[in-house]
């Protein structure tokens, strides 16, 4: 199963190595990883997407990460209401006679054209990973020259759905 894990760390040299090294040592499979500063000085946040076999493995992952001295907090946010975003830069072959057609076709994804040359156009597309996958599949037949993805970053929504059991009206 795919899990999204947020890890809050002290921004010290080597901390990324500690975290990824640990995942490697314990044989976890990282699908993507993003890191950046937070609103607090010296605190960074990492977002991992990992493929995990079962609950026990997941529990181990969270516990082992929490054990690191430089790790302040570990949250598996997969089951929360979250915002997931990824950015992709897609360079596509785009001869002048096809360009209008292409722009029309990708329109629903609201990509931005951030670079053009005679035969190539570069789209920037932002969204959850599935949306980006779909965009790529759509544009692939035109000939992708280069593809760069940032990996997922995520944050928990302010209002969470409250799980209340359906109460019988009787």
């Amino acid at each position: 199963m795919k899990r999204v894990i947020n890890v809050t760390v002290i921004n010290q040299s080597g901390v990324l190595n500690r975290v990824t090294g640990l995942l490697m040592k314990r044989q976890f499979n990282i699908e993507s990883i993003t890191v950046g500063h937070t609103e607090q000085p010296n605190i960074s946040k990492m977002t991992f997407v990992v493929n995990i076999e079962d609950e026990t493995k997941l529990e181990q992952l969270v516990k082992q990460l929490s054990k690191q001295i430089d790790v302040i907090k570990v949250n598996d946010i997969t089951d929360n209401a979250i915002v997931l975003r990824e950015l992709a830069l897609v360079k596509v072959v785009s001869p002048a006679n096809l360009r209008l057609e292409m722009n029309a076709i990708v329109e629903p994804f609201r990509p931005q054209v951030i670079d053009t040359s005679k035969n190539v156009v570069t789209y920037q597309v932002v969204g959850n990973p599935e949306k980006i996958d779909a965009f790529i599949e759509l544009i692939r037949p035109y000939g992708i020259k280069e593809l760069t993805r940032t990996g997922v970053t995520a944050s928990v929504r302010e209002s969470q759905k409250i799980d209340t059991p359906q109460l019988s009206i009787l």
Partner: protein, 586 residues
């Protein structure tokens, strides 16, 4: 005993607090040594080199005792032995590059066995780090997965804080090794004295808050289970020793009449001859201990980590038991064995909380009777041989001669298992062995560290002929400090455990497990200027051997034993504890 710990007399705390008459400003090395002193360090095991010359210069003026081993690996195993005996961090100081990489085995060993160490490594100057400079190694990169935490000092003024944090991390929570990497320019840089008071500031580590107090409700749940249990069993691991909870454990065991078994590293957490102690469990554990696990309806693990050498096949482990697991490290709970009642706490705190609860004590009389019968029926056994010394006899003799009062260290292999079986571990912190990593070459230097820790105690190092040859260069220390360590080489001219597995599982194809050429260990001892003796007949155990163990000087004893002896009982690797073989004398 007359251990000539010559430099010991130099230790004088009043002198150390004052960093000599200050004519020149203090540098990073002075601050480091002062910080070690503030942590109560009086002994360092180490080996100098280019990158730590500044530190050794600061040490030269200081009363902290430095033990110059013959190899860095000797230094770190000695520090491990020292830490095991005193239950406080051992300190190691080595140079950059090869000095640091020679520690890797010892650091890993300490990590897996939770031994508190503070390891200080030199490093090349910060302006050449990353340039493949002379004796440069990426020590932080190399040791990140094998330390509890590591630091590279980037600013001389951070030293007081880092050293303080390092000792705190090493010696709290689940203990372990912490490494500090010192670039040479930092150790020589002038310290800004306004940072000196940082040493008094409280430690601030937001990501490290080990939980020591148990959850009240979990304790209540565990006690309810105990109250209802018919066949409760306590598995006591090294966590009991680290928490110094030996008394609480004994009180608990007696109060509720619950049988107890030990892990290899937990030996000594309860008296070896205690009526309710059924010995060591696991691959070469007592038949009764393993049987107890398989039949128990409640298994209370206190400070053990369900290592695979204990559990065998985890799916078939303790099939009837509700599992209570008390551990200071939450990551251990549920890692190997599904746990019904987790209790994250220090073993002492948890046992205290459990002792406070008044519950209906379980009726365990029938269970205890059953185990007593099993214990009598299936003791450890060996078949005497009138033409050879049996290795088990050697260990038994060590026990009788020392009255079970000695500190015993072992190496790894057959002799280690026999020492666990036949030496009855009556006291805590007197059993030093490499459990998790199984490091050959560990036993002898660890004994040296133990003797430095307890100069007045009898220290016996039980080693195999192969493992001893991995670190025997440290004999030099026995001579230099007149350390009265007794080295008992259980000499079967083989890598015994490897050979045993080849006999049992590889049709006796003894591939590279026999070692026909050995040094003359007696002459070797004599070459170093200490005493060496050899025994080849069982009757010499009461004469030559006993005299050697009883003597007050260092002795190396070459006990030539039967080569083809096997360790039994045995649970074949990966099999269920029920698959135990060799429980009875044929």
């Amino acid at each position: 005993m007359t251990a000539k710990l010559s430099t010991n007399e130099k230790v004088d705390s009043s002198k150390a607090a004052q960093p000599a008459e200050q004519t020149k400003p203090r540098n990073g090395s002075d601050i480091l040594i002062q910080a070690l002193h503030d942590q109560g360090v009086d002994t360092i095991f180490g080996y100098p080199g280019g990158a730590v010359l500044n530190v050794y210069d600061a040490l030269y003026k200081n009363p902290i005792r430095h033990i110059l081993t013959r190899h860095e690996q000797g230094a770190i195993h000695a520090a491990e032995g020292y830490a095991r005996v005193l239950n406080k961090p051992g300190v190691v100081l080595v140079t950059s590059g090869p000095g640091a990489t020679n520690l890797v085995t010892g650091i890993t060993d300490a990590m897996i066995d939770s031994i508190p160490l503070v390891v200080l490594t030199g490093q090349v100057a910060t302006n050449v780090i990353g340039s493949d400079a002379f004796q440069e190694a990426d020590v932080i990169g190399i040791t990140t997965p094998i330390t509890k935490h590591n630091y590279q000092v980037q600013n001389v003024n951070d030293i007081p804080r880092i050293v303080k944090e390092a000792f705190h991390i090493a010696n709290s929570g689940r203990k372990g090794p912490v490494l500090i990497d010192f670039p040479k320019n930092i150790s020589g840089a002038v310290f800004d004295e306004s940072f000196a008071q940082n040493a008094n500031e409280e430690i601030y580590l937001p990501g490290y808050q080990p939980n020591t107090k148990p959850n009240y409700l979990q304790i209540q749940k565990a006690m309810n289970e105990i109250s209802n249990a018919k066949k409760p069993l306590i598995l006591a691991g090294a966590g009991v020793l680290f928490a110094e909870a030996q008394e609480e454990l004994t009180e608990f065991v007696e109060k509720f009449n619950i049988p107890v078994i030990n892990t290899l590293l937990g030996l000594g957490s309860i008296h070896g001859d205690h009526q309710l102690n059924y010995g060591m469990a696991g691959m070469h554990g007592a038949a009764v201990a393993n049987d107890a696990i398989q039949k128990a309806d409640l298994l209370i693990n206190i400070g053990a980590r369900f290592d695979d050498r204990l559990t065998g096949d985890t799916k078939a482990f303790a099939p009837n038991a509700t599992v209570v697991h008390i551990d200071i490290d939450p990551a251990e709970i549920g890692k190997n064995i599904p746990t019904d009642i987790p209790i994250v706490a220090d073993a002492k705190e948890a046992l205290k909380a459990m002792l406070k609860k008044d519950i209906q004590a379980p009726d365990t009389a029938a269970w205890v009777d059953f185990l007593n019968q099993k214990r009598d029926e299936f003791p450890y056994w060996y078949v005497e041989d009138e033409n050879a010394i049996l290795p088990q006899q050697v260990i038994e003799k060590v026990h009788t001669i020392t009255n079970g009062d000695a500190i015993v260290s072992t190496d790894v292999g057959q002799h280690q298992m026999w020492a666990a079986q036949y030496y009855r571990h009556n006291h805590s912190h007197q059993w030093i062995t490499s459990g998790g990593l199984g490091t050959m070459g560990f036993g002898f230097p660890a004994a040296i560290g133990a003797q430095f820790a307890k100069p007045d105690k009898k220290v016996v190092s039980i080693v195999g002929d192969a493992g001893f040859q991995m670190t025997l260069q440290e004999i030099g220390l026995l001579k230099e400090f007149n350390l009265p360590v007794k080295v008992v080489i259980v000499n079967n001219g083989a890598l015994g455990m490897v050979r045993q597995w080849q006999e049992l599982f590889y049709d006796q194809r003894y591939s590279q497990s026999l070692m026909p050429v050995q040094p003359d260990f007696v002459k070797l001892a004599e070459a170093y200027g200490i005493k060496g003796v050899r025994i080849t007949k069982a009757e010499e155990l009461d004469t030559v051997f006993a005299d050697a163990i009883n003597s007050d000087e260092p002795v190396i004893i070459d006990a030539q034993v039967k080569q083809l002896e096997n360790v039994y009982p045995m649970v074949p690797a990966g099999k269920s504890l029920d698959a135990i073989v060799g429980v009875k004398k044929p």
